[in-house]
Structures are given as structure tokens and as C-alpha cells.
């Protein structure tokens, strides 16, 4: 069986995670799309810590006989991996976007330079006045 103190500590920990994530969203320091996985992590961990019978049942299913809280670790690690993988995809997309922007800026700038040079030439060829 899961020791009661572990359930309480885990419940407090996951509740804290949920609250911190919500507060970060409220303060606009975290976008909802990046917070969803964190919220899911918090909720799943909270459910697993509070629902003690469930944790024991899942542990028994998976053949974890000695120490059911190991399931908590396993769940936490899986969610952290999911979050990291999600970030890697976000990072890759940002890199692509960044390259595209840099190229676009460089191309626009080259066109602007050409336009300005043409305008300068025209101004010298035909002085105003």
C-alpha cells in the first residue's frame, strides 16, 4: 500500500504545480498553448496521489508489487518527456521561422538599397530647383 504521507506530499506538490502554472498564465508569462501539457501533468499527478486505491490498482496491473508510488514517478517522468519533446518541436519551428525572417529581412533590405541608389542617381542627374 501507498504510505499516506507520500499521498499527501504528492497531492500538495501537484496542486502547487497546477497553481503555479495557472498563476503564470494569469500573469501572461506563459501562453496557454504551452501550459496545457503542464496542467495535464499536474492534474494526472494530483488524481494519482489522491485516488489511493487507483494508484494501487494500476501498480498491481503493471506488476509493481512492492512500492505503488513508483507509478507516480513513472507518470511524472512520462509527462516531463512529453513536455520536453513538445518544446523540441516548438524550438525547431521557431528556428525555421527565424531563418525565414532573416532571409526576408535581407532580401527586402537588398531591394531597398537598390531603390535608394536609383533614387539617388535620379536626384543627382536632375537636381531639384
Amino acid at each position: 500500500m501507498t504510505p499516506v504521507r507520500i499521498s499527501i506530499a504528492a497531492a500538495i506538490g501537484s496542486a502547487l504545480l497546477i497553481l503555479i502554472v495557472l498563476e503564470l498564465i494569469r500573469g501572461r508569462r506563459l501562453k496557454e498553448r504551452y501550459a496545457l501539457l503542464w496542467l495535464a501533468t499536474g492534474v494526472v499527478l494530483l488524481v494519482l496521489s489522491v485516488w489511493r486505491g487507483g494508484l494501487n490498482t494500476i501498480a498491481a496491473w503493471l506488476g509493481v508489487s512492492g512500492y505503488p508510488p513508483a507509478i507516480l514517478f513513472a507518470a511524472a517522468i512520462m509527462f516531463v518527456i512529453a513536455v520536453l519533446l513538445h518544446y523540441s518541436t516548438v524550438l525547431s519551428r521557431l528556428t525555421d521561422d527565424n531563418v525565414l525572417l532573416a532571409q526576408e529581412v535581407a532580401l527586402l533590405r537588398a531591394r531597398l538599397d537598390a531603390l535608394e541608389q536609383a533614387a539617388d542617381r535620379e536626384a543627382t542627374a536632375r537636381p531639384a530647383g
Binding site: 532573416a102 532571409q103 529581412v105 535581407a106 532580401l107 533590405r109 538599397d113 537598390a114
Partner: protein, 241 residues
């Protein structure tokens, strides 16, 4: 009148880039030269502009693939019919350009690469490590593409309009030439190779260490196989070409 643009990617090539631009212009004044300065900290851009090139200056270093792609995007935007690509360090001789352009003008290829290894007589022997890498990728790409490819790292290329359009839209990053051959294949563009001579680089040296070479070899090989497994849009002109 066929409009041709020479795309020259350059990173920290202040000393070499001026002569490269001048040489292209001297060879054929009708070719417009665009130098893509890949965020150099020296005077590469200024030297290129002084030599009469259009300079597209990237705000920071993007790496060779993205720099080259910038040049192809310029070619597309400015509506050029043909693009040739030469390196900014002077190892590609503009006098070889007609050879590169010939298969395109005959309508036999969409992209033509200048290969150092097409003929044995040349005598160019890169160091062992490089040779192993070059052979590995040449064999691999030949196998994947079903045609004889001898030089997959050459940046000396000519492209027609479909080639420009493809590479402007999608171009790989490190050692892009290897993966680009797979892109061509997947998009059903025709690749041809002609033998060219290349010069030893005059300024600076290829600063690729052993560890980096292995890293790139593994990375590019992986990228090749992943690219083979991707689905690409085939130009749809009613029927397959």
C-alpha cells in the same frame, strides 16, 4: 534573352570575394552577381558591393544552406531564368560555366552539378578523411537516385527555373548538396553532372575537424534517409514527367 544570376554565398571572405565577383563579371558581363553575405563580421559585403555585386546581407550567420537558399529566393523574386551557384572563396572557375549550363540549355537537366571526380585524369586527390566521406555519400546518393553521382559536396551548380523554384522553397542546411539531390529526385527534377576543374582554395582553409566530419557524416546520412521517407509534392503538369 535568358537572364542569368550568379548566386555566391560568402562568409568571412573579404579578401577573396572581390576577385570572385570581378571574375564572373569579366567572364560574362550579362550575368548578374548576387553575393549572399552570411552575417560576416569582416568587410565581405562591402568588398562584394565594391566589385559590382548585389549584396544580400543576412543579419546573422544562418549557415551555408540557408545562405544559398536566400540567393535562390532572390533569383525567384527577381524572375531570373537560370541561376548558377559558385562558392565565395574562388575555388570555382567561371570559365567552366558553359559546361554547367549546356545540359540545361539542351533541355536534358533541371540542375547540373560540377563534379571534380567525373573523370580520373584530373589528379585532384583530397585528403583521406574527405575522400572517405565523399565516396560514402557519392555511393549512397547514386544508389538512392539510380544514376551515377560522383560529387555530392560540390557547390558548383546551375539551375533552371523549376530548380530555382524548388530550392527557393525548400533547401537543406548542413552539407545541403547531399540532401538536395534527394529533394531533386523526389520532386522528379533531372540532375546531371559534368566534370569541372576546381582550384585549391586560396584564402583560409577548410576548417573541418575530424569530430565535426563524423558528426556531419552521421547527421547528413540520417537526413538523407529521412528525406527519402518524406512525401513531396511532385510538379503536377497534368501528367508525370
Amino acid at each position: 534573352m535568358t537572364r542569368i544570376v550568379a548566386v555566391v554565398p560568402a562568409f568571412e571572405e573579404e579578401a577573396a570575394i572581390g576577385p570572385v565577383v570581378a571574375e564572373i563579371t569579366a567572364f560574362d558581363p550579362s550575368i548578374d552577381v548576387v553575393v549572399v553575405d552570411d552575417g560576416s563580421s569582416d568587410g565581405t559585403g562591402v568588398a562584394a558591393a565594391a566589385a559590382g555585386a548585389t549584396v544580400v546581407r543576412l543579419p546573422f550567420n544562418l549557415g551555408i544552406g540557408a545562405a544559398v537558399q536566400t540567393g535562390f529566393r532572390w533569383a525567384l523574386e527577381r524572375d531570373y531564368d537560370l541561376a548558377v551557384r559558385l562558392d565565395g572563396d574562388g575555388q570555382h572557375d567561371p570559365a567552366e560555366l558553359p559546361k554547367l549550363l549546356a545540359p540545361i540549355e539542351r533541355g536534358e537537366a533541371d540542375v547540373v552539378t560540377g563534379s571534380r571526380f567525373r573523370e580520373e585524369e584530373d589528379g585532384y586527390r583530397p585528403p583521406l578523411g574527405r575522400r572517405v566521406g565523399i565516396t560514402w555519400f557519392a555511393r549512397l546518393v547514386s544508389l538512392l537516385s539510380g544514376q551515377r553521382v560522383t560529387d555530392t559536396t560540390s557547390g558548383f551548380q546551375a539551375l533552371n527555373r523549376p530548380g530555382i523554384e524548388l530550392f527557393a522553397r525548400d533547401y537543406p542546411s548542413d552539407y545541403p548538396e547531399v540532401e538536395a539531390t534527394v529533394l531533386l529526385l523526389k520532386h522528379r527534377l533531372r540532375l546531371a553532372e559534368v566534370h569541372v576543374r576546381m582550384r585549391e582554395r586560396e584564402h583560409g582553409s577548410s576548417s573541418i575537424t575530424f569530430v565535426r566530419s563524423v558528426y556531419y557524416a552521421v547527421k547528413v546520412t540520417l537526413a538523407l534517409f529521412i528525406a527519402m521517407g518524406r512525401r513531396y509534392a511532385v510538379p503536377s503538369e497534368g501528367v508525370e514527367r
